[in-house]
Symmetry: C2
Subunit: 315 residues, 2 copies
């Protein structure tokens, strides 16, 4: 096992700590939607999340890729200022194959090859251990806990998960949820985990476990944010064409925690803003395959769409 080189030969050796430690998959995706098909393109929860976060702050990835992982992808992440000291290299890259039906609501997973993730044992680099923000993206909850334990007193730890872990590792997942400040779920996962069709009830139960903040992602219907006292309903952006929704949830999460890290403010008021930045980046992400749209996205476009979100909800 080796670690990915953080810098290419001759590049300046920057020593800055990342603001956000992000654990999750870095993958090669094969995706089919009604608007086209892409094979072995850059994907993975940690990839989308860290790229989205990089618009606001400095993320560091904790993950593993294979020897077959294209150098061009690493270069893309490096150029965004994403810290790769926590990215190992071993065996063959994790691969996900999925397709979307015409309604684009939910991905149908056709194939998952864990490959190098099968025996992944995350080691948090020294430089990451003082990161103020931690995002435990969708991954085995035991690994999520292992990462969280290695970070010293983060200001905010956020956890995402998926149906697989709710079915197979529910107890471990609940233990992990107890240890984080912000729980992120999509609506079907919230219903499944708390065994209720009512999202308000699910959120109330989640808050009782420990997290002070619960965010439920609803895809094209926006997102809900619950604290013990309050409720926030974020609209979604009205896109006429959605080419590929892969990574939207992770981009949402990455931008959200990126904005929090940038502003260093975890108040409810600021989390509401962070959710809108998350929705903004996620809406761009859906406009093209893989990270294509994010690659050509700039802050001016982001701020413009953010202000459109303000008009969308005005009455």
């Amino acid at each position: 096992m080796t670690f990915v080189k953080l810098y290419k030969t001759g590049q300046k050796q920057e020593k800055a700590m990342p603001d956000i430690a992000i654990v999750g998959s870095v993958a090669l995706d094969s995706v089919k939607t009604p608007f086209g098909e892409r094979n072995d393109v850059l994907g993975g929860a940690a990839t989308y999340a860290s790229f989205a976060a990089s618009f606001f702050a400095k993320p560091g990835i904790i993950a593993v890729v294979g020897e077959d992982f294209p150098e061009a992808h690493l270069e893309l992440l490096r150029k965004r200022g994403i810290d790769l000291r926590g990215l190992e290299k071993e065996g063959r890259t994790f691969r996900w194959q999925g397709s979307y039906e015409y309604d684009m609501n939910e991905a149908k997973t056709l194939k998952t090859e864990l490959n190098s993730f099968e025996n992944f044992n995350p080691k948090v680099p020294e430089e990451y251990k003082k990161a103020g923000y931690v995002f435990l993206a969708n991954i085995n909850p035991e690994l999520q806990m292992k990462v969280l334990e290695q970070i010293k007193k983060p200001k905010l730890a956020m956890l995402d998960t998926m149906n697989l872990w709710i079915s197979t590792k529910k107890q471990k997942l609940l233990e992990a949820i107890k240890k984080v400040d912000l729980l992120l779920l999509n609506d079907s996962e919230a219903r499944q985990l708390f065994e209720t069709p009512n999202l308000v009830k699910a959120a109330m139960q989640a808050l009782k476990l420990g997290p002070k903040h619960v965010i439920i992602k609803k895809g094209e219907h926006g997102a809900l944010y619950f604290t013990e006292q309050n409720h926030f309903s974020a609209p979604s952006y009205p896109l006429e064409t959605i080419k590929d929704p892969t990574g939207c949830g992770d981009s949402f999460a990455g931008a959200l925690i990126g904005y929090l890290a940038k502003t260093n403010d975890n108040s409810e008021k600021n989390i509401r803003k962070a959710i809108i930045y998350g929705s903004t980046i996620a809406s761009f992400n859906a406009e093209d395959f893989s990270l294509e749209r994010m690659k050509r996205l700039n802050m001016e476009e982001i701020e413009k769409r953010y202000s459109e979100f303000e008009r969308i909800r005005e009455f």
Copy 2:
């Protein structure tokens, strides 16, 4: 065929015109939800809509009930100031029987008895013909047109429909839509009518037909409002317990047009406010069976929840 008496003997004979003419069903519903069961209770689109509208303005119903329709129900509507001069009495009352699964998202229709609605030929009373507002609630689009043709120059005509008419009377429905100012649909109907899973595309197509305003109801996910230039996303109210969602869409519509009639302002800005009043009343309606919650609802509660809607979307 007879007409329902507008006033009980001895009551003051008020001659005021209604502000809003509402055509649609007045029914006896039998409903089963995970929270209970009610048989032959007051229901129907025109009933819910006119009751909801009566918090803001004076509605007049155009419909037919049977000889078996309880006088107590008529008395309830009269007391709310709802004009019944357009309510005929003949044969047996329209009956709907439905149930909701645990997720409460969509009613499953178990039985529909058209009864006196089978040969209903709506006659608009003289007193209604100058109504400034018209709501063509869910009913055969040919009857909707017949009603609209009898109203002289309304300031705003709004049309709602259902999957049945999209399947069986699509051409007539499209003709009727061309004649109204505001089209109201739920999300599945919008997708079905315009043959696209994308609600933005569906709304754009609807706007091309003629209506200046298109509102798509999304149940627990709120509502979307489209004009050619703008888009508004209304949140839903986070209810922990929904006892019976029957009539929520009609209550939403009734309150919406009631508020427009009260303020006599059909600007986009005011329609946004009207949508929030609609969402407010609909959220109360779901809290109990039939019209039970609306019967004990007052303006203070309405204004309080309206201002909660303001906080829900603030960022």
